[in-house]
Assembly symmetry: C2
Homo-oligomer: 347 residues x 2
Amino acid sequence: MAELTAAHDLVQNLAQDVVAGKRRALARAITLIESQKPSHRAQAQDLLSALPKDRQAVRIGLSGTPGVGKSTFIEAFGMFLADQGLKLAVLAVDPSSARTGGSILGDKTRMDRLSRHPGAYIRPSPSQSHLGGVGRRTREATMLCEAAGFDVVLIETVGVGQSETMVAGMTDLFLLLMAPAGGDELQGVKRGIMEMADLILVNKADGDLMPAATRTCADYAGALRMLRKRPRDPQDFPKAMMVSALAETGLQAAWDDMQTLIQWRRDTGVWDAIRADQALGWMQEEVQSGLRAALETHPQAGAVLAQVQGDVRAGTLAPSTAAHRVLQAFAAGGAEFSDTENSPDSR
Amino acid sequence: MAELTAAHDLVQNLAQDVVAGKRRALARAITLIESQKPSHRAQAQDLLSALPKDRQAVRIGLSGTPGVGKSTFIEAFGMFLADQGLKLAVLAVDPSSARTGGSILGDKTRMDRLSRHPGAYIRPSPSQSHLGGVGRRTREATMLCEAAGFDVVLIETVGVGQSETMVAGMTDLFLLLMAPAGGDELQGVKRGIMEMADLILVNKADGDLMPAATRTCADYAGALRMLRKRPRDPQDFPKAMMVSALAETGLQAAWDDMQTLIQWRRDTGVWDAIRADQALGWMQEEVQSGLRAALETHPQAGAVLAQVQGDVRAGTLAPSTAAHRVLQAFAAGGAEFSDTENSPDSR
C-alpha cells in the first residue's frame, strides 16, 4: 500500500513536470506509456488522467514512401516552424522498423539541425513495435506532447499499408509527401491514401526536377478534383502544391494553407467534430482490444477457442457455431480484464 | 421441453430436405437464418450444425456499379452455366436497398429467364438489411446453398462502399463488371476494389461500344499489371477481358479463365488456405460482435459506456481511461451473451 502511494506520488510529480515543459520528464513519461508491463500500464493510466485536457496542439500526420525526402522535409519544415517560435514535437510511426532495421541511423541523426533546436523535440521510434501497440502508444505520446505545451505534433509514417489509416485517425491534418514522377507512377499511389490527404506536397520542386514536379503536381491536382467532396473540406481543399525541402521553398505557402484549413474547420465546428469522433473511435478500439485480450486469456473460452479453430479452418464446423461455443464458455466463467498492450495479432 | 424437441425435429427435417435439394425447404431455411428472433437464431444454429460439410460450390462474388449491366450479365452467365447442367444459386447483397428501394421490380423480375430455369435458384434480397447482418446472413445462405448441392453460388453486390470487401471475404472468386468508358473514368474505380478482383469483365463489348470496350479493357489490363503480384494468383492473373451480356459473347472464355484459376488454386493448396482463412475470419467476427453486444446490453458496463461517451467526445476524459472503466464494469458484473443479429451500428 505504501508502495502504491509512492508510485502514485511519482506519477503526479511526473505529470507536473511534463506540464511544466521539462524535456526529461516528457521523455520519461513517453517511456512509461511505451512499456508493456501491467504495473507500468496502470501508472500510465494515472499519468494520462492527471494531465490537463485544455491544451491542443495541431496534430499533423505526414506520409510518404521512402525516397520522397521525408526526413529532409521534416527537418526543413520543422526548422521553419521552430524559427517562428512554435514548439514542435516529432513522433514516428514505423511498425516495420524492427523488421527492416529502417532507421539505422536513428531519428535524431536523420534530423540533425532540428534535433538541436530548443523548440523541437524528436522522439526516436522504438524498435519491436507492432501496429496495435503503435496506435495506443502514439496517441498517448501525442496527449503527453499536448500537455507539455507543444504547438505542433507531427506524426511521421512510412507510407505503406495500414499505418496511414491509423495516423489519419489520430491527426487533425494529413499531409502526403510525393516525389516528382512520370504520369505512369501517379497510379502507384494508393487511392485510399490520396483520399485521406488534406494536402499533397510534391517535394524536390527544385533544379532539374522542376518541370517533372510541375507536371506531377498538376496530375495530382487533377486527380484530387475527381474525388468526391468531403464535408470536412472548405473550397479548394484537398489541394496539391510544390515544395522543396532542399531549397526550403514552398514551406510558408504550405503552412498558410494549413492555417486556412484549420481556421475554416474551427469556425465550422468540423475541427471539434473530427476530434470527438477520433476520441470515441479510440475508446471503442481500446474496449474491443480489452475484450479480445480477456477472451484469449480466459481459461475456458481460451481453451474452447484453441479447440474449435482447427475444425473451423478445416471447414467441418460452422464458424458461427464455433463462435457461439466460445462466447458461451466466456460467459460461463468470470471474465478478467488486464490492461496490457494489445496482442501482436490484434487488428 | 416437448416444444424444444419438436422444434429440434423440425430443424432436422428441414436440414434433410435442404440436402435432398428441395427448393421450398431451401427457401424456408434461408428465411429462418434471416430471422432476427432469438429462438429462430438458436434453430438456425441447429440447422447449420446439421448440414453436411463436404459439399463445396464455387462461390463467386460479382461487383459492379449501377448501369454496367449486372442483371443482364447474371442472366446471360447464369443461363450459360445452367445450360451446361450446372446448378446455380444467386444471392444479392444490397444493404442500401431498404433505403433507396433499389430493386423495385424484385430480383426475379430482373432475371426473368434465369428465374424460370430449373437449374437456377434466385433468392430475392431482403429489405431492411444492414451490413453487419448482411454478412452473417449471406454466409449462412451460402452454406445452405452448398449443402443443397448447388455447383455455383453467385453473390451479387452493388459496387459501392464496404460490401465489396465483405463479399470478397466470403467468396472463392471475385469478378468486377465494368462498362466501356473514356480514359478519365478509369481512375473512378476504387483502387481497393480493383485489387480484390480476379477478373475484370468489360461488359457491353458489342455494336457501337466495341471500340470503347476494347480501349477500356486494355486500360484495365494495364492497370492490373501495375498491381503487386498476389500469392493467390497464377501467371496472367488477375486479368481483364471483354464480354457482352446482350450478345452473349465472351462468357465461355470468362468461365474457362475461372476454371483455370480454380484448378491452379486447388492444385497449389491456395483454395483451401483462402477458405480456411475466411472461415476463421468469420468466426472471429462473430465472436467480436457477440462480445460487443454483450457489453452494450450489460447493465453496469452499458451504463458506464453511456456515461463516459460524452466526456470522451468533449476531450475531458482520456479514451483509454474511459475504456478501462467500461471494461472494469463489464468484468465486475456477470456477462450475458445473446445470439441475436448484430446491432445495426456494428462494424
